[in-house]
């Protein structure tokens, strides 16, 4: 249990520290692409993905840093990509919204809302047809449930009983717009039920709960080869796109903000560790090690070279 907690915390803290560093350094103007930070939402990524095997496949959207890191994606390549450098995971053609790392099963991040949904479903079809022991996870936001393609994929996944988990991070907002203005309520069970897809709602800020619940779900999906819908309620701290807070804009209720801050996934995990007799010192040591590692990767990315413009016209076709 303790080992597990530590593993989870490492992943959480890595993600948080990487994104805090992005946030801190963004204004230097070297990360010249839009960034969508997951700060506040880390447990949704860590808790579930920690249960996946390397061979399991992950798909993501515009807010993909946490998923990439939790899946074990190469940090240096991620940062180099965000810096627009030649060592980027896709050589700089994609930027922050297109992270992928084939070597760990982080297949694709697509910044068009719900666009990765079809590909993920196709991936699960492939796994099923070829009797692979893998599963597919598609991370999506609450707004992605408003795109027709989600329903098309849910229908197909259910009809063909595919090993796919729709992992929905409900942070209540699409950019500045509350889910109340977009959907009739924020209980997604109704969508899953429409396709007889089993559903579970999880507190997305509690890494232990996400971990425990999704462990069972993942086992089920792997064994039974059928889809599952997981709703993880959570909250984003920073602005939708960019490095800063935007609470001054007042589109989010300040009590709501406070409520979610009191449920901070990192603090929560820390408390858990303490409860399990992992002391402050040990935690600090873990954190320090991560920080050193992360800072080094940032340095690397900063000094990586810009790609040669001739690369831009390559790979249009295979």
């Amino acid at each position: 249990m303790n080992n597990n907690l530590i593993k989870l915390y490492k992943s959480l803290y890595l993600t948080r520290f990487v994104e805090e560093t992005i946030s801190k350094n963004y204004s230097k103007g070297q990360m010249r692409c839009p960034v969508h930070l997951s700060i506040g939402q880390e447990a949704c990524a860590t808790g579930l993905i920690e249960n996946l095997k390397k061979t399991d496949k992950l798909f993501s959207n515009h807010r993909c840093h946490a998923h990439y890191l939790a899946k074990g994606g190469n940090l240096r390549k991620m940062l180099s990509e965000i810096y627009g450098k030649n060592n980027g995971c896709v050589g700089g053609v994609g930027g922050s919204m297109h992270l992928q790392d084939q070597s760990v099963g982080m297949v694709s991040s697509i910044p068009i809302v719900s666009s990765a949904m079809g590909m993920a479903t196709g991936n699960a079809l492939y796994q099923k047809r070829n009797n692979l022991n893998e599963i597919t996870v598609i991370y999506c936001g609450d707004a992605s449930l408003e795109e027709g393609i989600f329903f098309e994929c849910a229908n197909f996944a259910s009809l063909h009983s595919l090993p796919i988990i729709f992992a929905c991070e409900n942070n209540l907002f699409s950019v500045y717009t509350n889910i109340k203005e977009r959907q009739i309520d924020s209980n997604f069970k109704k969508y899953a039920s429409a396709f007889k897809i089993p559903y579970k709602k999880i507190d997305g800020n509690r890494v232990d709960e996400v971990y425990k619940s999704t462990k069972k779900i993942i086992n089920l999906v792997r064994k039974k080869r059928k889809p599952y819908f997981v709703q993880m309620d959570t909250y984003r701290y920073k602005e939708h796109c960019g490095p800063s807070d935007d609470d001054h804009l007042k589109y989010r209720n300040s009590n709501e903000v406070k409520f979610w801050q009191s449920k901070d996934p990192i603090s929560y995990a820390k408390k858990l560790m303490k409860k399990n007799n992992i002391n402050e010192k040990k935690i600090k040591k873990i954190e320090a090690k991560i920080e050193i590692f992360v800072n080094k990767q940032f340095k690397h990315a900063e000094i990586d070279k810009l790609p040669n413009y001739k690369e831009a016209s390559k790979h249009i076709y295979v």
Partner: protein, 358 residues
């Protein structure tokens, strides 16, 4: 090389059957993929012959379907998607343009999308505004897609095989009228290289570029003109994307006369790209280039309204006259012979000539 006279439909089917045999990673997907019509017989019996794992019946969800095809394909499946009409793909433009076309580019070639999306272009029998578009110029304006349009049974077979074994996403456009053509087709399975143009007839007087059913009409015209000592370099633009105009440039340098026929609208059609490129290449034409194709409005349904809509053999002849300034007397003789040979049939069904054999 053993060639039989078979129909375009049979050629497609043979390509599908042989490809499934060659590569067990291939499967078919579509609405009604194994129904009694089975894309007008083009994929009839796949399930019976190869088992149900080779055909996946799809809900009527085109965008999701193309997404699923892409997702299967980047893993190593080869997917042949079947759409009864080009228009149904409009629902799937998002997946086609965002993911099919860009996956190789974005992944720096780590992922490939070996899918073929067969789409049928409707014409005749009152198809109307939402069952008669071709849109090949639009697909050809998207980098990362390949666009293939066979005109003859032989091309249908060899280009479908080539498309299936191409690692890139291919939009494979079949004109509904092409299905009825017949021609000699090699029985062998062979993976040829896809190329933009097939040369149909050779000549020195004029370069004529068309594709799909328009090529058939051009062939008839070219054969006729040959008798009158007007020999034509006729090209079938069978892969408008990616577009390699080397051969065309060479031909036009020789002929100094060029006519293009678009399957879709003239406006922003392949003809516009071809002609601009020719001009950029400093070729001095002896007469202005001519573009034929559809006028810039939706496809009407009634046979009364499609008169003057689709380019005819006569239109092509008149354009050639205009370009080459064929003497009046000679031309009226040509026209007379053309009219004698072309039967007076309703405008909204394929001319018997179109059936071939070619």
């Amino acid at each position: 090389m053993f060639k039989r006279n078979i129909s375009f439909t049979e050629a497609i089917r043979e390509a599908v059957f042989q490809s499934i045999k060659k590569d067990k990673k291939l499967f078919l997907m579509g609405e009604g993929v194994d129904d009694p019509s089975s894309m007008w017989g083009t994929i009839k019996g796949v399930k019976k012959k190869f088992g149900k794992s080779k055909t996946i019946e799809m809900p009527v969800s085109e965008n999701g379907m193309i997404g699923v095809a892409i997702g299967s394909a980047i893993n190593g499946s080869k997917v042949l998607v079947n759409l009864q009409r080009v228009e149904f793909a409009l629902y799937a433009f998002e997946q086609i343009i965002n993911n099919a076309a860009k996956t190789s580019y974005i992944s720096r070639g780590k992922h490939s999308v070996p899918i073929v999306i067969r789409m049928v272009i409707g014409r005749g029998w009152g198809q109307g505004p939402e069952h008669g578009q071709s849109l090949e110029n639009i697909f050809s304006a998207i980098p990362g897609l390949k666009v293939v349009i066979p005109a003859f049974p032989e091309e249908a077979k060899s280009m479908l095989i080539a498309s299936i074994f191409d690692p890139n996403p291919v939009i494979f456009l079949e004109h509904r009228w092409s299905h009825f053509t017949r021609g000699k087709v090699d029985k062998k399975f062979k993976i040829k290289k896809l190329k933009s143009f097939n040369k149909i007839t050779s000549g020195s007087k004029l370069t004529l570029i068309a594709n799909s059913v328009n090529v058939l009409e051009c062939l008839r015209v070219s054969k006729l003109l040959k008798k009158y000592n007007i020999d034509i370099d006729l090209f079938n633009l069978c892969m408008p994307n990616p577009l390699d105009l080397t051969e065309i440039i060479r031909s036009v340098k020789k002929t100094k006369h060029v006519i293009t026929i678009d399957l879709s609208h003239i406006r922003l059609g392949m003809g516009s790209e071809i002609i601009s490129t020719i001009l950029e290449n400093r070729i001095n034409l002896k007469s202005p280039p001519i573009r034929l194709g559809l006028p810039f409005h939706p496809v009407p349904s009634s046979r009364g309204l499609v008169k003057n809509f689709y380019p005819t053999g006569q239109d092509i002849l008149y354009s050639i006259q205009k370009s080459l300034k064929i003497p009046k007397v000679k031309f009226s003789q040509i026209l007379k012979e053309y009219n004698l040979k072309s039967e007076k049939l309703p405008i909204d069904v394929p001319d018997p000539y179109f059936k071939g054999p070619f």
